[in-house]
Amino acid sequence: MAKFYTEDIRVSPRIEKLRDALFAKMPEIEADRAVLITESYKETEGLPIITRRAKAFKKIMENIPITIREDELIVGSATKAPRGCQMFPEFSFEWMEAELDTVETRMADPFYIAEETKNTLREVYKYWKGKTTSDLATAYMRPETLDAINHNIFTAGNYFYNGIGHVTVAYEEVLAIGFRGIIEKAEKELMTLDAKADNATEKRVFLEALIESFEAAITYAKRYSELALSMAEKCVDVKRRDELTTISKICAKVPENGAETFYEACQSFWFVQMLLQIESSGHSISPGRFDVYMYPYYKKEFEKGSITREFAQELMDCIWVKLNDLNKCRDAASAEGFAGYSLFQNLIAGGQDKNGEDITNDLSFMCINSSMHVMLPQPSLSVRIWSKTPHEFLIKAAKLTRTGCGLPAYYNDEVIIPALISRGLTLEDAREYNIIGCVEPQKSGKTDGWHDAAFFNMCRPLELVFSNGMDNGKQISIKTGEVEKMTTFEEFYDAYKAQMEYMISLLVDADNAIDMAHAKRCPLPFLSGMVEDCIARGKSVQEGGAVYNFTGPQGFGIANMADALYAIKTLVFEEKRFTLAELKQALQDNFGKGGATGLDAKAITIGVVKSLADKGVEVSEEQIANIYKNVSKESAFVQNGGRAKEIFDMIEDVPKFGNDIPDVDAFARDVAYTYTRPLESYKNPRGGIFQAGLYPVSANVPLGAQTGATPDGRYAYTPVADGVSPAAGRDVSGPTASANSVAKLDHFIASNGTLFNMKFHPSALEGVSGLESFAALVRGYFDQKGMHMQFNVVSRETLQDAQKHPENYRNLIVRVAGYSALFTTLSKSLQDDIINRTEQKGF
């Protein structure tokens, strides 16, 4: 008998119904939570903040409307409407207040909002002026830091305006001992409290708040039990009545108590997953190693014969759908950066246990089945790969990749485990890592990773080298000397490093200011009960209660900077083809494309956008790009792009990162250090350290729109390179060359995660040989110590765009006949043929 059950399991018709119901309407904003928390805060003025948080949570748990949706087996919804969202005014609200009338009609992630809700929220917001975490964070920041943010060197937006999220709690503990068990742990700690200790008072107040929060969560589950029972009593459909009766029994038992059956474990899991997202607004609350902590419940029942594979799969599919029921309304600008209503709930399968043995099991395969069954963006499915990963598991994952849904992401144990150990995790904890949000590794139930702490645009400090620290007429950074007078590459590179280091110091200031604001204004007692060692230390996660504390801001644009600096080194200093002064002019001229007034055009664009904003007109990134385009055109006739164009052509001919050229790749490795190394020396207020990530989410597009032309031949305001991937269209030597180059970066030091995106057309993975060669590609990249890989299997629309803009898609792989080829090298007719072929396949 095979070791694993690798086959697909029939999908229940229930799943399609649940899915359709979820997406039947536009998501809606609901005000219940905002109203309840505001009432509670008004009642608790003057009490310790942790107590106020617990009492507010209790009020919400006891009063927020609850609902059981049709056909659901797993229950618990944060909103009445499917995919609705609650509001969290304690973090920030000004943006929402300003956008109440436009949120329904905006392009990215619109939300329906009733007039009555708008009025309620306007009323609620009156209370919060000056009281949010965002207000306090601003007060903590240096003026230079605010300047750097306003000038788009980096953005700390995520936690500046929202909760932190980005955590995986100890699900396995809740499944085992229930909320009651956690309360008992806290009570025991209270009883043995050392009155002589300096933190005795703080600890007592914290533990009491924690107990109050968990009692409230139990009450909430019991409300569901009662609702299910009353629905059952009224239900005429016998089958559904039985289902509701079962739901009622289960919600009476879990999450208060430990789970015994797989069904109970699923429901208990779901309450934890959802309640964390009612307590705070943070995203990337990640289920983590679902296949590991759920497996004992499945195995016990499956062996006993009390559950079928089909029913277990159905329950999992229900959870997969439910993960898409949670939603979050972001401000208009962030919505563009995180487009797709994404919550980044990362769920990972496979990998090794704490003893270093492979832990892949039947549920690992069923996780992939679930993603195939629901075909929805949540959860963000990941797989862990290492030398002992069963081949059939990698192939199963490849089959999911082939569907074109962009899942799963592949992670390399062989890099991540040592990287985490180098940051102070024990070997056992490192082996049990999971992924948070996009790509950030950590140990569940023990870590406050503050991943995703900021987006740092590595291209902007290079602009500051050319401007000697000026931006739009203001000295926002240190002076590193006039670029025209630099005589060696080392001098230039040192200036870049100095600009990087200065801006990194401000980034740290921003993050730590926000960090402190969360500790002072929004500690989270419910979350803290499920993260070791908060109970023993007697303080919340936000105040440093976790075993491991990190801050992980991510840099992006490495490929652009590697190519830019390599071009400068080669063309300016070695071959002396042009001077830095000429290059500076060419950049201002946007290489002759935007014209002699490239920078002026930027200034004009910003002016236009500001005046529109003053009039209350919202401007999207796309519109900004258009304004810029027009402004540039206006001024185009006054300039002479001749020399700029020549310089551009020379840059085009210099070798680029992503083509397996040892010199260039080694250089890129060094450039990445300009970000990753300085960060390592900083500490956060929770007693932890900073660690770099190299990934962009989708911010490389909007933030690229704020970046002028760069010396790698990238035009102004176009996207910058995504993650550690080569710059778009620069890797033209095939997938193995691209992977080899990226693997030459130091992934170990980027312990907050790296992201390597590869674009394939589904046809490239056709047949057994397609899957096998794909698996070899993943294995080969990982053998060379790459950390993460994901595959953007592209759609018909992308192919059509690639026909129009081949320069952006020079690395796109399609399968032609019996072989794969770079799409842009094919003839128009053949391209059309492949596009039509995809239509037949329904992509």
Partner: protein
């Protein structure tokens, strides 16, 4: 005496990495320039002549053909070693016809063989057997085309008769190298059930051959002919419907051989 076979020069027109056909696993394909045959359906017309020539591709002039040493080619081959190991892949010499540059081909295959890299050639087999014999010690897989059993028709569509090819196929099979027979299925040339059956029956007689690949005609090379200023010899010949390919597959299978459509 020091054997400087790594300095052997040859003429190639392309090296394609991460190819998943033309042999097992992930492969690097080295395309040699020059061929003895002029098959009407050839999808690499730039491979046919040994002379370096200019081809217009995407509006730009491209020089087809460059002279390289075995050592230079090995540098590129080595880059994907890790993927060969993970997939059971390696190197395939294609073309053109590697037998048209026997010294270079032998040296290149030998270099791969000595470094533990799996080797394959994709070849017409149209050469004196002594030349083929030189390659065999370093060769793991021979992918050989049998295009037609009727020599006259073979000559009409490829410019050469087939006797030497069929004889070589027998001798290669006897040599013990893994031999795979491939048939390009071309409209108007060999796409009838009878013609395919004849080829399959011949392949069946070859020692150790258990598998036959049918490669359906495609028009991917058409734009290259234009780029070289030549006329596409196949005119507007139609593609072969999948249903017909399936029929041919069954014909092959009736002979007891395994059959696979595509490379």
């Amino acid at each position: 005496m020091f054997d400087n076979y790594l300095d052997t020069k040859g003429r190639i027109f392309d090296i394609q990495r991460f190819s998943v056909h033309d042999g097992p696993g992930v492969r690097t394909i080295v395309f040699l320039k020059g061929c003895f045959l002029r098959c009407k359906w050839c999808c690499n017309p730039e491979s046919q002549r040994y002379e370096i020539e200019t081809m217009i591709q995407g509006g730009k002039e491209k020089i087809m053909g460059r002279d390289v040493t075995v050592d230079e080619v090995m540098d590129i081959i080595e880059k994907d070693r890790i993927y060969y190991r993970r997939s059971g892949g390696g190197v395939t010499l294609s073309g053109g016809e590697c037998l048209a540059q026997p010294d270079f081909s032998v040296a290149l295959l030998r270099a791969c063989n000595e470094r533990g890299i799996d080797t394959a050639i994709e070849s017409t087999g149209f050469a004196d057997f002594e030349k083929i014999e030189m390659l065999l010690p370093y060769l793991n897989h021979y992918l050989m085309d049998i295009k037609h059993i009727n020599s006259e028709k073979h000559r009409e569509y490829t410019t050469q008769p087939n006797e030497k090819i069929l004889e070589n196929a027998r001798r290669i099979a006897k040599s013990g190298v893994e031999l795979t027979i491939r048939v390009p299925v071309i409209p108007g040339f060999n796409c009838t059930e009878d013609e395919i059956r004849d080829i399959a029956n011949f392949a069946k007689t070859l020692e150790g051959v258990t598998e036959l690949h049918l490669l359906p005609y495609h028009r991917l090379g058409e734009s290259k002919y234009e780029g070289l200023g030549r006329k596409y010899p196949m005119g507007d010949a139609p593609l072969i419907p999948d249903s017909h390919m399936q029929k041919l597959k069954r014909v092959v299978e009736e002979t007891g051989l395994n059959c696979h459509i595509g490379g």
